[in-house]
Symmetry: C2
Subunit: 432 residues, 2 copies
């Protein structure tokens, strides 16, 4: 055991911060044994120290900037948001302090400059808690699969939307009333925009794609569609096909015919077969599939949010950073050496499910099929069903550029024989 203490500054002390503080203060011996040296909580920056009578008063400060500049080894940031946190963390990294953060918004926009600052000073920059809470996912992507070639990362990374979609699937209820219920039960924030419109998942997709493909991908590079447009009809249409609807973050390595590679990162609702392992991930759980050339198919499953799970991820990073301090080195850094271009959504290959109410007369399918042919989209399966004077037509396509699929849907919507486009949704996974 080294005598040298590892000094930790904590920025922010909400639910996660309180748990981190508890472990640092109450489980100091255990932590020291794991790190190989005592870990000392040097200070806690909170906006209003007088609001935290439960914390040791001598540790509290409302001057996060000064705490970061003081003599500490590791800065744990749990405030969130971009400014002023970005400046504090850049200062910390430039001064050689390692940074542990759960800040997905910051990471998904500014990871390049943060990583560069860490590289220059030899500090660690860890952010396991920023994606999928307690599930150890970023470390495996960054380290365990470092000798492999990842081709795809696809998962459920937002618990609120997964709770809502699971409930809609279970009850058949509509989106608005399910969201209300989720808010009432505490599964959705008072302002659920960041979750239901996919911003949260898009930030996580950017972080995942960056690590998986050694390429800087920011949240603005991620194509984003939320779940507010999902109707009970969509869920019912999925159910008829023995599928269910999930909001997925999908990051893919796309290889063009000429061999050039690019990265696609997107967040949108997807119909997946009920036999798919992601279909069984219900409620507020997260799960992420990873496909790699050599490793094959991997899945990581666990709690994606909550104070204790997030604190577990933060503490794991903190122990790693502290051990590196004691050992005198630093952990494996991330690498953006591949610098692949990001493929626009329109050029990303996807597959569509389209459910239509059409006139019940001969020749309808021919007209609809012609619209597909015009846009060079190949049809994988068609089901027709009579419904009084209208008929229902369900089509699943083969893979085609997303723009061609959208253009096809637009054209179909204008056909006289089509009474209503009931549901349009992308699909993933093989039909069983």
């Amino acid at each position: 055991m080294s005598d040298e203490r590892v000094r930790v500054a904590l920025l922010g002390c909400g639910t996660v911060g309180s748990e981190v503080t508890r472990v640092l203060l109450d489980e100091a011996d255990e932590l020291a044994a794991r790190v190989g040296a005592p870990v000392e909580l040097a200070g806690i920056a909170v906006r209003r120290p007088d609001k935290h009578p439960e914390l040791p008063q001598e540790l509290l400060t409302n001057d996060a900037g000064a705490l970061v500049e003081s003599d500490v080894d590791i800065v744990v940031e749990l405030i969130g948001g971009i400014e002023p946190v970005r400046g504090w963390l850049l200062t910390a990294l430039r001064k050689g302090r390692s940074v542990v953060t759960a800040n997905k918004a910051l990471l998904s926009e500014h990871s390049a400059e943060l990583a560069e600052a860490a590289d220059l000073s030899g500090a660690d920059l860890y952010y396991e808690a920023s994606v999928a809470g307690a599930i150890p996912l970023l470390r495996p992507l960054r380290e365990s699969l470092a000798g492999d070639r990842i081709t795809r990362v696809m998962g459920i990374v937002n618990g609120t939307t997964n709770y809502i979609l699971s409930a809609m699937d279970a009850t058949g209820a509509g989106y608005a009333e399910t969201l209300d219920e989720a808010s009432r039960l505490g599964y959705a924030e008072a302002d659920p925009t960041a979750d239901v419109d996919g911003y949260d998942a898009a930030s996580k997709a950017a972080i995942l794609a960056s690590l998986a493909f050694h390429t800087r991908v920011t949240a603005s590079d991620v194509h984003r569609e939320g779940i507010a447009g999902i109707t009970a009809s969509d869920i019912a249409a999925a159910r008829l096909l023995n599928r269910t609807v999930k909001l997925l973050a999908i990051c893919e390595r796309v290889t063009a015919d000429d061999g050039t590679e690019s990265v696609s990162a997107r967040v949108h609702p997807v119909m997946i077969p009920r036999s798919h392992q992601l279909a069984g991930v219900n409620g507020a759980f997260n799960a992420v599939y990873v496909e790699a050339d050599a490793a094959g198919e991997l899945m990581f499953y666990g709690q994606g949010a909550g104070g204790a799970p997030t604190a577990s991820a933060v503490l794991g990073d903190l122990v790693a950073a502290a051990r590196n301090r004691v050992a005198g080195g630093r952990g494996p850094r991330e690498s953006a050496h591949a610098a692949l271009p990001v493929r626009p959504m329109g050029q990303t290959p996807t597959r569509y499910h389209i459910s239509l109410d059409v006139a019940d007369r001969a020749g309808v399918l021919a007209q609809v099929a012609q619209a597909f042919a015009t846009h060079d989209v190949s049809i994988a399966a068609v089901r027709q069903r009579d419904r009084n004077s209208t008929a229902s037509l369900v089509i699943v396509t083969h893979s085609a550029p997303d723009a061609a699929l959208r253009a096809t849907v637009d054209e179909i919507g204008k056909l006289d024989v089509v009474r209503e486009v009931v549901s349009v949704m992308r699909v993933e996974g093989e039909d069983s």
Copy 2:
């Protein structure tokens, strides 16, 4: 990019070694970019160099000992077995060379001296490939959950036995004929002892328990029962309860009434509910559940064996070790600071399923129940069913010390009213 080369010695060049060699030679640029310095294959030790015309002849040697002593930074060991590999790796670690190995037999017996040698010289000792092939599992246990308290690691870690049990469940066939079929299809070795008798899983359980509980657990500490005794009746009995049979490695932190902690590590067949996520892991796949105080329930799923998946894990370790060389540090070491005692199987709390053929007359249940009461074992559920002149009695117990459960079964087997003990098996997971 550093100019300094990282020199790698490879011991053994079978399926996994060939894939590692291919990546080192053919994907040198990509590897260098990930490591931050060129990675050079300095030599390959094989028993018979003349049997490897496909490899660069100038790299081959049959003197592994000399290769280990030469000027290399990292030794990748893919020979397997304990001697003479143990001596070579100790030499390498003592000289400060980092070691990457997939050798579960060695690790499960001699990790203490290997880890000590690594600690003394500041070298890395990585062995992700030794458990669950390509699934990144050891690194998360060692690093991501380093700030959490793991209470349980339970999983399917042997593909051969999982293939056999999956097939028995699907076909209703017996053990012997299913094993023959598995051998014919290449899912079982010509000598399947290490797999079917649970030695392979026990080695992995020792490695998992050591990392999870910061305690040295060796394979000989692991209670081990294989699958050779599983009958079609056992599988059928499980099916009647909507359960299936899996060979599980179970590592638990057990807290006694007085608060003292110990570790239980065991490998044996278990009935689990079909609704349990491990029940859906079929064929040669592996999956491991981890429960931790803060992180909650996690699952890791993927391919547990095979050349490419194992090579992926080896290369991940190799990249991590090489990056540490370039950065001048070393990765987080494992820690055995907790040094918890290993709890004997007899004192480990388990639950039993017992299926009996009994005489069809009044008072049978009373006699059987008395046997349970004598050993202070509490019954959770009983089902009775008539079957001509015999009746079937199925009992699931509450948790009790394994020795008490075994004594109960012994006593029941001697009762006049019991015609046959049809199936006895431990159970895990809640009944749905």
